[in-house]
């Protein structure tokens, strides 16, 4: 998935109402997020090849994580992380990161 595709998917998810996904446990999400923020900065700042993951619609966050879990999207780090996450874990992460504001 390239930048343009991601943006249009992002816009679609916004229009469709990102909050329609099953609400995740935000406290669990905050704990699980500690594994993510070693690379993905919580501030939403982007350095090098690690994208910002804050402020996404929950639907899109879940879709992307499932795509790694199903070994569709490439990236062995993400596939390995996603493999260890349950559907509830992913929903929790989506809820937590979705609650954070992206960097200006």
């Amino acid at each position: 998935m390239r930048g343009g595709g991601r943006l249009s998917l992002f816009a679609f998810a916004l229009l469709a109402g990102g909050q329609s996904a099953r609400a995740g446990d935000i406290a669990l999400g905050e704990y699980l997020s500690s594994a993510c923020v070693t690379c993905h900065q919580k501030s939403g700042q982007v350095t090098g090849g690690v994208p910002a993951i804050v402020g996404w619609p929950a639907d899109q966050f879940v879709a992307v994580m499932n795509s790694y879990k199903n070994r569709e999207r490439d990236n062995e780090v993400m596939r390995t992380q996603a493999a260890s996450l349950s559907a509830d874990d992913i929903a929790a992460l989506a809820a937590y990161f979705g609650s954070l504001k992206p960097a200006k």
Partner: protein
Amino acid sequence: MIVSRRSLLRSGSAAAGVFALGAPAILGQAKQRVVVIGGGPGGATAARYLAKDSEGKLDVVLVEPKKQFTTCFHSNLYVGDFKKFEEITHGYEKIAAQGVRMNHQMANSIDRDKKEVVLADGSRLSYDRLVVSPGIDLKYDSVPGWGREHEETMPHAWQAGDQTKLLKAKLDAVPDGGVIVMIAPPNPYRCPPGPYERVSMMAHVLKAKGRKNAKIVVIDPKEAFSKQGVFQEGWEKHYPGMIEWMGPKTHDGLKSVDPKTNTVETGFETYKNAALVNVIPAQMAGKIARDAQLVNQSGFCPILPESMKSALDPNIYVLGDACIAGDMPKSGFSANSQAKVAAMMIRGELLGARTFPARYTNTCWSLIETDDVIKVGGAYEAKDGAIKASSTFVSQAKESAELRKQNTQENIGWYAGIVADMFG
């Protein structure tokens, strides 16, 4: 008497202070204290998360003698001219601003019975919970002929700082035709792919300087090493004929080194007057952990995998390179991951905060040559009394240049991320 607005405010706050002191409910609720020993990836992360997530309800003290911390991770990139020294060196100002009390001195010992840490100035810091994250000490008696008094002549550069600069200066001075000998460490040691990334960076510098006839010999006590296949593939691709790696069967054992003549002798060969000898010795948990008898016969600290708590003291947690973390390698990433589990469990114990089953993660990226980065990693959990990998991956041979370039960008992004996560 003219009462200024300022003095009124002052007297007002003094009155409030008296009131507070007189209030038994508040007196009886002195903040519980967590002392963290060591300001590296484990300790800095633990202190920051404890302060941040307890929202001021815990007194968090980070004991670390250094004012500036140079990360071991990416120090090879400094050796290879990919980073400046300042780029791998960080201060504690932001951590302090986020509520961690910095105490810049050495922690000399731990009084486990009294639950106190004895500091270099003789003062004592009491703790409700203690986090021990001292990193490794080198076994100076593990390489025949070499000791602490020779680390200037034959640097280890396995604890980042002046040693890293010394190794870099010696590397830059290697003449064309010169021989570098690396004595690689036995397991377990800090940063399993580190020696081999370093070899790659040495070769990169020699190649870039046009010293095509220089050679790097690796005398390894192990029969195999981390990411070996992809490292060796990369060496053949980028530095053909420059790097000779030998395991114990092929060098017949390291007999001795002689720092006076920069000589390395193995069962089969003698390398005389080497241009640079990099001795990376065997390792053990930092002294304070050993002195406090937090180690077992292995020289490292057993922990409970579901919490990172010491298996030998219920008030102490041990993080990072000093602990026995099962399938997790000794890496900055691992220490950072373990710290977040420990911080959560400590908040659970002291504040009744909600806790979740421990999850751990690690990835190690290694730079072989410009835009050619390989990686290894995993996700881990507590299982059958140890930290066990639940899923893992490692870079494969014959991967595309595009993928390796993506890894390079990931490596850059990860560094910025972990430093922000550790130091704020």
